[in-house]
Each structure stands twice: as C-alpha cells, then as structure tokens.
Amino acid sequence: MSALTMPARPREDPTARPVPWRRMAWVTWRQHRIALTGVTVFLGGWALYLWLTGLQVHHAYAAATACHPAASLACGEMASNFNDAYGARAEAIAALLQVVPALIGAFVGAPVLARELETGTFRYVWTLAFGRIRWTLAKLVPLAIAVSAAVGAFSLLLSWYYGPFVADGNQTALAPTVFDLRGVTFAAWTLATFAIGALAGMFIRRVVPAIAATLAAYAGLAAAAGLYLRQHYLAALVTSRLNPPATAWIMSVWWTKGGRFAFAGLPPGSLLMRICPPSGMGSGPSRFKPAPGTITQCVIRHGYTQWTSYQPASRFWPFQWIEGGWLLALSVLLVAATIWLVRRRPTAA
C-alpha cells in the first residue's frame, strides 16, 4: 500500500482559541435527530387529535354557556350533558398525558451520555479538542431547551383543551391530573426528567437501565409532588362556610364542637344515629333518606362546626411558578452534577 505523504504540520497556534461552540450544533443534531423527530411526531399526533376533539368540546361548551335563561332546567341539563359527554374522555386523556414528560425525559435525556459510555465512543469524542465539559453542555443545553419548548407549546394546546372543564366549575384547575398539564409545569417536568435522564445515564452508563431508572425517578417525584408537596406551596385557607368555592381544591374537612376537635370528614354513623336519627327508622327498605345538606344542618344545630381547608383556584399561577421554579432549580442542579461527573468520574479503563 502506498502511504500518502503528509503536508507539513502547521505551527502550534500560541493563542489557542477554543473550538467555537457553534460547531457542536451539527453534531448534536446529527446524533439526536431521530429522538427529536420522534418527539415531534409523537407530540404532533397528540396535538392533531386534541385539536380535532377540542373543537367539539369547545363547540358543545359554547352551546351550553349560550343557553338562556341560565338557571332554567333545560340549561342545567345541557351543562350536565356536556360533562357527561366529554368529561370522562378529558380525564382519561389527562391521565395518559402524565407520562409525556417521563417518556421524553427518559428516551431523549438518558441516552445522551449513556450511549457514549456504553459503546465506548466517549473515549473518542472526549479526547477531541472541543473538550468534554463543553461537549456535554453543548449537548444537554440545546436538547433540554428543545424538548422543553416543544412540550411548552404542546401544553398551550392543553390549556385551551381543558379551558371549558376548568371554567365550568366542575373541575378545579389545581386538581392533580390537570394542574401539571397546563401553564409552565408541563415543560418544567419535561426539563427535570430530561436532566434526571442525563444524570442517570452518566451514572449508570448503560442506556436501558438508565431509561428505566429515569422512569422510576419521575414516577416517584411526580407522585410525591402531587400527593404531598403541592398542597403545601402556600398555607391552605380555612373556612367554616358550608360552601367553599366550587373551583377550590379541597384539602380536608373536619368538625369541632366547643372549640375542640370532634371528628374528621363526614359525621360518623353512630353520632348521626344519636343526634340526627333519620325519620322513618325501621320502616324497611323504602325508608326516607335525608339529603346530605339536611344532615349537615342538623349536625350544626347540635353545636358542631364544619371546617374546610382549601387552596383557592386563584392560586393557579402562583402554584405554577412555585412548581416551575423548583423544577428548574432541580434541573440546573442535576445538570451541574452531570457535568461534575463528566469532569471527575474515573472511567473504567
């Protein structure tokens, strides 16, 4: 084989400017275009479906709200029909969409570093002049922004889709299933899961286990946030009014008597039997059942007070910013930890 002769090597550049950042743009796109295209197709398909069904929802809702006079029986039936027709499907969609941040974070975020470590190509790319810390940043930051922006745009559509359900007072905007689909939190959850994935990939160094770990971490964090954290973002309001706003997110209900705690939730049956026995007791299966309101009134007449703690719907945006804020801070921390590992972690030879 005739070896090629090499032209003389240029003199070493004393200024030694780093390789420009923009040169990573092609690399990041080339290596992750399939994942990004997948995200676009996935969200695009959902968006098309939500847009088409959302038009029906908005049409039906407009008809229901245009009903006049609003207090009439016919109008009440229309509003009720609207919820019957579309409410269940909207809730099912909301439940399904909870996995979107998990899927995107896991399948885009986890492989970024795990694949390089698993296949060994990090030994190649980390020893090029661009430098491995800058390489990591130039991959993670644009990808994180891309997936968060895509999901952010998608959640605008969701806000539109769920607008009628939130506005008609049957569902609170703070309810766990819809709260994190709207506003800034959907994008923030995607960002945080992406960052979890990147760190898991760097730590575990294998693609599939890193994806699994990311999904598990998201599930745990999302459940913890929905069940325990979110209700404490701001101190709940407490009222003794019997009818807190219909759009409020009810935390708990309890009763007091004479300033002392009596019981939580609904009045226990033994108490009711004693102080508010249903009339017509013992008259068989067709006995008269008092409406719950009547029981409540009866219990109150006996000196009990009902207390309700709740988060008013007006706190939707403060809660959005609080949740978006801590997720953003968490993401920054996770990316910093990833960079630290890239810098420090001794790679097995």
Binding site: L4, A16, V19
Partner: protein, 306 residues
C-alpha cells in the same frame, strides 16, 4: 525532526499510579518518552497499558504521582487535547454514523482537520464515505479511526492495541501508515500492544510493562546493545554471576541466559555470546519475576544520551 521536539518528553510520568478499589492497575510508573519516537508499550493483558494511555488523555485521573504530555502539559488541557490523537481499543468509530459523518464530526470538534488528506486516504483504502461505521469490517474501522486521528495532524498519536483485531495483511498496512506518517512530519507515536511481532520494524523506543509496573524502558538500539544472549552448559548456569541475569532458560543440555552485558564484556569460558532480538528481549523481561531494571534512572539516562 526539529531540535525542539528532540529535547521534549512527549510523555513523562513520575511515580504514577492508578488504583481501582484496592487493586493497583498501574503503580510507581516513572518514565520519560522522548519526542519523535515510535514508542511501543508492551506487556501482557492486564499489565496496565490501557490504564497508562487513558491517564495520558485524562480519561482517567491518577491515584498517585503525576503525568504530563507534549513537554509538560497536563493531560486534558486544551493544548494536550489539541495535540494528541487517541485511538482507543476496540471502539474507534460510531457504529451509526457514516464515514463522511465521522469526518464531519471530527472536523467540527478539532482545531484543525485535513479533510483532503482524510478523503484521499479513505479512497485509497476503498472505504466508501457513505458506509456506516457498523457496516465496516474490523480492519476498515481501525483504518478509519487511524485516518481520523492522522487528519487531525497530532503531535502525538496514542494507539491502544491498534492491531489486536487485524489480520496480518491489515496489520502490516496499518503499521506502515503509522510509521510513514511519523517519519513524514516527526509525529511521536506511543502504541500499546501485546503482539510482539513486527515490533522491531516499527518501534524505536520500548517500554515493557508487567504487573502494573515498568520493567524496562529505553531506546531499542540501546537496549539491544546492552543485552546479550549467553548459551552454555546447563550445569554452569547456576554459577554464572559476572553480569546481571535477566532471565534464564534451559534448552536440553544447554542454558540460555539473557544478561545485561554489552559487546565489550568478556564472555566466560565455555559460553557463547549472541546478540538478542527485540522480541526475545521483551519476552525475557516479561517472564522474569524480578527482572525489573533499577528504577527511574533508566528513563532519565536514556534521555541524557540523546
């Protein structure tokens, strides 16, 4: 080769050690490889060769001691990344990127890249630019990785077991490319290998590594000139004490000793002296349990004789 590169140590280690858990993969490693050489890092599997190379490109951090490259630069520093091309063992290319994409990626992430050279060489090797890395044969992948490394015009080329996966013809072609490139522009080469054949043709500097420690290091010519094979009666082997014995072996009724002795040293009566080949010298040191040459001074005196 210019005067500057003559004086520089392209890789220099002092008391370098790397520990995984409680096991030392590399220990008390002190060496100074002068610039402009094709240096071979030879040792059995698990001797610490890969560890040493990974330390030289900052893919590992030392547990003890220190290592510098390109004349005192810390590994992983911008000039070191710029001036060193590293071809790792077994995993040289992205399987899902085409050869053209590999050129593009490397060109984008390097401070200089000789695209024309790379394309000419791939054409000469018959590697289609559109072919994905995973569809190339092992030999082609190794050649592609070498092409990418050379097109970066490095001052130091580090090759980890470059020919282990190659058949003899591909191995010969690969090493020809390396030594031609080294001769053309004075690029230094440090390559690790557990394959001893062809070493004599390729290497002019030898580092023998075994059990995580440097057994011997020096210019090939000096090493060959300072060692002799003595053959004589098997019974006399125990009594031979004139010069340090690196390794002794019995061959029927004859003893075969590798001794540290020059051509001018006297040969005891009844013994015959022969020059030693590089392969035999390397094998002898690798087999000798305590055959380690006395320490760091070796590398430094070698340097002083340049």
């Amino acid at each position: 080769m210019n005067q500057h590169s003559r004086r520089t140590n392209i890789v220099e280690a002092r008391g370098l050690g790397k520990r995984y858990g409680r096991t030392w993969a590399l220990r008390e490693c002190t060496l100074a490889v002068p610039a402009g050489r094709v240096a071979a890092l030879v040792g059995p599997n698990g001797a610490g060769k890969t560890t040493l190379l990974n330390l030289a490109v900052a893919l590992l951090a030392p547990s003890a001691g220190e290592i510098t490259v390109l004349g005192g630069r810390p590994p992983g520093s911008p000039p070191a990344l710029d001036g060193i091309a590293f071809v790792a063992q077994d995993t040289p290319v992205y399987k899902n990127l085409s050869a053209a994409d590999m050129l593009h990626l490397t060109r984008n992430l390097s401070r200089r890249f000789d695209q024309a050279y790379a394309e000419r060489r791939l054409a000469e090797l018959g590697i289609p630019l559109k072919r994905k890395g995973g569809q190339l044969s092992g030999g082609q992948q190794a050649q592609l990785a070498l092409t990418l490394a050379l097109a970066r015009r490095p001052r130091l080329l580090l090759l980890d077991e470059p020919v282990a996966m190659l058949d003899p013809v591909a191995r010969h072609d690969f090493m020809t490319t390396v030594i031609t490139a080294a001769a053309d522009d004075g690029m230094s080469v440090l390559l690790s290998s557990h394959v001893l054949t062809e070493l004599e043709r390729v290497a002019d500097y030898l580092i023998l590594l075994a059990r995580g420690q440097v057994q011997v290091a020096g210019e090939v010519d000096d090493l060959l000139a300072s060692h002799r094979i003595l053959t004589g009666p098997a019974a006399g082997a125990e009594r031979y004490a004139e010069r340090p014995v690196v390794h002794s072996a019995r061959d029927g009724t004859l003893s075969r000793l590798l001794v540290r002795a020059g051509a001018g040293d006297a040969v005891p009566p009844g013994w015959q002296a022969h020059p030693v080949g590089l392969e035999e010298l390397a094998l002898a040191y690798l087999r000798a349990p305590g055959g380690r040459e006395p320490g760091p001074s070796d590398a430094e005196t070698t340097e002083a004789t340049i």
